[in-house]
Each structure stands twice: as structure tokens, then as C-alpha cells.
Amino acid sequence: MARGDSRTVLVLKRICRNPIALLGLVIIALYVGVAVFAPWLAPYDPLGQDLSKSFAPLSAEHPMGCDEFGRDILSRVIFGARTSLIIQVFSVLMALVVGVVLGAAGGYFGGWLDEFLMRCMDVLLAFPGILLALAIVAVIGPDLHNLIIAIGIYSIPQFARITRGSVITVKQNEYVTAAMAIGESHFSTIVRYVLPNAVSPIIIQTTLRMATVLLTAAGLGFLGLGVQPPQPEWGTMLSTARMYLRSAPLVAVFPGVSIMIVVLGFNFFGDGLQDALNPRLKD
């Protein structure tokens, strides 16, 4: 395993030398921290209404002001981080597991199984972007649980395709032939020899997918088909803020900034990771 370790160290060194990737990492760390410690960080109850403070301006008491029901926007943004992180982690995890299994099986075994699986993925990919998730949520109903399922399903083909491509390349190595020659089972060959060497593109995809998934969840929220109010979610908050855009434009600022910064964090880090894991770009 010494080789694996030294490679990890090399990749970490490269990331540390890339200021944009480091910034991404810091943003992600802060975001996760805010999401995990939300109940301790938020100054108010994110659901607590106080109509006398409806659209209260920015102040020391309410650094981001208040929304139409006089709820503290800072507290809602903080708890919104928690909602977003839950959606991201579980939907990406679901897509990762299903996609890697399908992609590895197709790439490793080839033949009709591969052909069939990839045609199925083509069908799912034929519904561009947010559409598939939108349609699924429309039918099964918008709540946190269904949102995770819908977004998970629409992310499966990306993971399946990337894993398949990577597995097909790795499979051609002699150590894989050797593993089979000494009588390793297919399962053990895939898990012990193929996947560990096919993992870089999957890691990059996972990071970048976290960004896409957050945008999708927020987009569905904005359309009224995501997390339902009063539960705090950034996209849903923007959806109501839109109604008061002319009279209280500030309400639309902070949830949007939060989405952008977090997505930027994942994209910065993913971009740096891509450079760091790319053997062609040696410096």
C-alpha cells in the first residue's frame, strides 16, 4: 500500500499549492461546520415568527434582516445549510453506490450486460438537467425524502458512465489479468484490483456532483417543488423572496449568496482536484 499512500501525499501537496483549490476546501469545511452546528450557531428559532418585525432591515440584532413573517434570515440561512447538506450527501451517496455498481459491472463484464446498462443510462440522460428530477418529484410529491430520491436517480447515469469508462481502461492492465490467472473471483478482482485504480475520476465526479445537486435542489425549491415551507431551504426562501422583490429586495440576497458560495467552493475544490489527480499535468 506504500504506493497508494505516496500518491495520496502527492495529490494533497498539489492541492495545497493551488490557492483556488484550498479556498474551495475552506469554504466546504465552513459550510459543513455551519450545517452540523446549526442549532448552536443560529441566534433565533428559524421558524419563530414575529409579524412586528416583518421585513425588518439589517441590524445588530438581525444581521441579515427579517423575512415577510419577521423570521430571522440569518438563522434560516444557517439551518438552510443543514437542509442542503442532507440533500447533497444522501442523494450523491445513493447515486454513487448505484452508479458505481452498474458502471463497474458493465465495464468489467462487457457484452450484452454493458450494452443494456448503457442504453438504460442513455435513456435517463436523454432528459436533460433538472427535468428528470422535476418530473419525479412532481409525481411522488415534494418533500425532503422524495427530493433526495429524485435527485439521486437523476445523478446515477453520470456515475455509471464515468465508472464504466475508468474500469474499461484499468481492466486492460496486466495486474488484472494476473489477478484472474491466480484464481481471484470476479467480485474480488473488481473490488481489490480494478476499482481502487479507477477511483480518481469517481472522486472528481463526486465533488463536482455535490455542486450540481445543490443547484438542482435549490432550483426545485425555487419552482415550489422542493423542500416545502416553512422548513428553511435556500431555493425555497428565494421563491418567496421573489414575490417581494420590488419592495424588499434584500430578502433575496443572502440565500442566493449562500448557494453561490457553497457551489463555488465545491467547484473550486473539484477543479483543483482534477488538476491534482491528472497525471498529464505534471509540473
Partner: protein
């Protein structure tokens, strides 16, 4: 070439059948009774039964699927909300969405390719870093929020541009910028990396060694080859734009298919939802076919065997 196109076309057939199956089956995901879902919670039992009869929801799935596909083509599949054939509801709106998507992609290509080339040629200078950061900002911007911000600035505060509606070129400006931003970022990143790949090739060194000006090396030798992968990305982005139109059209209240899809979902007009899914997917798949063909035309190394 003709054989290649035909072969690619035939490969689409299973995908298109799959698309119609998924669009058809999606309604079966409904927890409980699809007829009840279409009718809504406050519908009477008689209404629910009527819908069940009308859409054959009490018949076997295979028969229902046949009815769905046949209805799609024959015009018998009716919108519940507009009480006219779904195609008559969707097609007029498709025009608006296509115009929006086209103007966005033109904008995205112009900005993205120039930024990508500049970035690659001036690698590791502040121009490159600025272009990279800007591109990542573009990719990370939530479409709907970006739309609200621009609307706030240019329509509400400055009152230069209309905040919604259609008809003139001015109506198209903000939505196209909003929808094209993310694609511009992605195209810029892609152009940069393929340009860097090309600039490392021997023939570029040769061209430079021959004493050709940098402008000529980049313009004539590098760009043409670097743009090949970019063309694929542009094709994929076109699909993303059709999907992104759902959000952009909602922000700017544009009468395209994206908004139709959302309002149809909220009104439980599922025949329109299903048909829209099929049409957008067919469109996306055809655009990708066109891109594949273009790819073969641009790159003589890719001539397809068999």
C-alpha cells in the same frame, strides 16, 4: 458518411422508445392511484372514475402505453387544462424556448471560446486566473438568483430592460444572459483545457519554429483542432439550456415549454407533462446526433468503421 449517420440514427431508436416508456411510467410512480393524482384531492369519485376511463388507467400497462404513444401522434392525447391536443399546447411554446436557447448558446459560445483561448494562451498569468475564477463563478451561479439580480438592477432600478414578457429583442437580452452564463463558463473551461492540450503538440512547436506569428499559430493551427472537443460540449450544453429554460422562463414569465412544464405540474395536467418530457428529450437526442455528425466532419481522424 451516409452509412455512419444511418447507423447512429438506428441506435437512437431504442433510446427514443426508452424515453417514451420512462415518460409514460413516471405517472405510475405516484403513491396510490394515478387517476386520483390527476384529478386532485378535492375531486369527486365520479371525476376520478371518468379520468380512469378516459386514460384507460384500469387497463393493463402495455395497453395504456400503446394508448399513450398513439395518442401522442394522433392528437388524441388531450391536455386536461386546455382541453385541446397536447401537441397543440406544446408546439407553439416550443418556438419561444428554442429562440431563447439559441440566443443563449450563441452568447455562451462567443464569450466562452474567447475566454478559453485567452486563458490558454496566457496560461498562469492574471488573465488566466481571472478567466478561471469568472468561469467558475458563472458555473456556480444559481440561474434563478442571477435572473433576479439582473432583473433587480436593469429592470427595477435602472429601468433599461423589461422584466418579463416577449416580443422584442430587448425582452430577450436578460433571459439570454442569465441562461447562457453557466454554459459560457463550461465552454470556457473546456476550450482552455483542449487548447492547452493542442498547444503542447509537436506541430505547434514546428509552426512556431518556422517563425509563424503567434496569432497565426493560434488562429490557424491550434484553434481549429482545439474546438473539436468544444463542439461536443456545446451540443450537451444545448440540452442543459432546454432544461435551464424551466427556471429562466419562470423568473422572467416567458411563455415557453419550461414554464408550461412547471405550470402543468402544479395544475396536475399530466398528459402535457409527459408529452413535454418526450419532446424535449427527442430534441436533445437529435441535437446530440447532429453534434456527432459535425464531429466527424471536423475531425478527419474520426471516420467511422462499420
Amino acid at each position: 458518411m451516409g452509412r455512419f449517420i444511418l447507423r447512429r440514427f438506428l441506435m437512437l431508436v431504442p433510446v427514443l422508445i426508452g424515453v417514451s416508456v420512462v415518460a409514460f411510467l413516471i405517472i405510475q410512480l405516484a403513491p396510490g392511484d394515478p387517476a386520483q393524482l390527476m384529478a386532485g384531492l378535492d375531486a369527486t369519485q365520479a371525476d376520478v372514475e371518468m379520468l380512469r376511463e378516459k386514460f384507460g388507467l384500469n387497463r393493463p400497462l402495455v395497453v395504456q402505453y400503446g394508448m399513450f404513444v398513439q395518442g401522442l401522434f394522433s392528437g388524441e392525447l388531450m391536455s386536461l387544462r386546455y382541453e385541446s391536443p397536447v401537441m397543440e399546447v406544446i408546439l407553439p411554446r416550443l418556438g419561444h424556448t428554442l429562440v431563447l436557447a439559441l440566443s443563449s448558446i450563441v452568447l455562451a459560445v462567443l464569450i466562452g471560446v474567447s475566454a478559453g483561448v485567452l486563458s490558454a494562451v496566457m496560461r498562469k498569468t492574471w488573465v488566466d486566473y481571472a478567466a478561471t475564477v469568472l468561469a467558475l463563478f458563472g458555473i456556480s451561479m444559481p440561474v434563478f438568483w442571477w435572473g433576479l439580480l439582473l432583473m433587480l438592477l436593469f429592470s427595477v432600478k435602472l429601468m433599461w430592460l423589461p422584466s418579463g414578457g416577449t416580443g422584442t429583442l430587448a425582452h430577450l437580452v436578460l433571459p439570454s444572459i442569465v441562461l447562457g452564463t453557466a454554459s459560457a463558463g463550461i465552454i470556457a473551461r473546456m476550450t482552455r483545457s483542449s487548447m492547452l492540450d493542442v498547444l503542447r503538440q509537436d506541430y505547434i512547436t514546428t509552426a512556431t519554429a518556422k517563425g509563424l506569428s503567434a496569432r497565426l499559430v493560434v488562429g490557424r493551427h491550434a484553434l481549429r483542432n482545439a474546438l473539436i472537443p468544444t463542439v461536443t460540449v456545446i451540443g450537451l450544453q444545448f440540452g442543459q439550456l432546454l432544461a435551464g429554460a424551466v427556471l429562466t422562463e419562470t423568473v422572467f414569465s416567458l411563455p415557453g415549454v419550461g414554464r408550461l412544464l412547471v405550470t402543468s405540474i402544479l395544475a396536475r395536467d399530466f398528459p402535457v407533462v409527459q408529452a413535454t418530457l418526450v419532446i424535449v428529450a427527442v430534441f436533445f437526442v437529435l441535437v446530440n446526433l447532429a453534434v456527432d455528425v459535425l464531429y466527424a466532419v471536423l475531425d478527419p481522424r474520426i471516420r467511422y468503421h462499420g
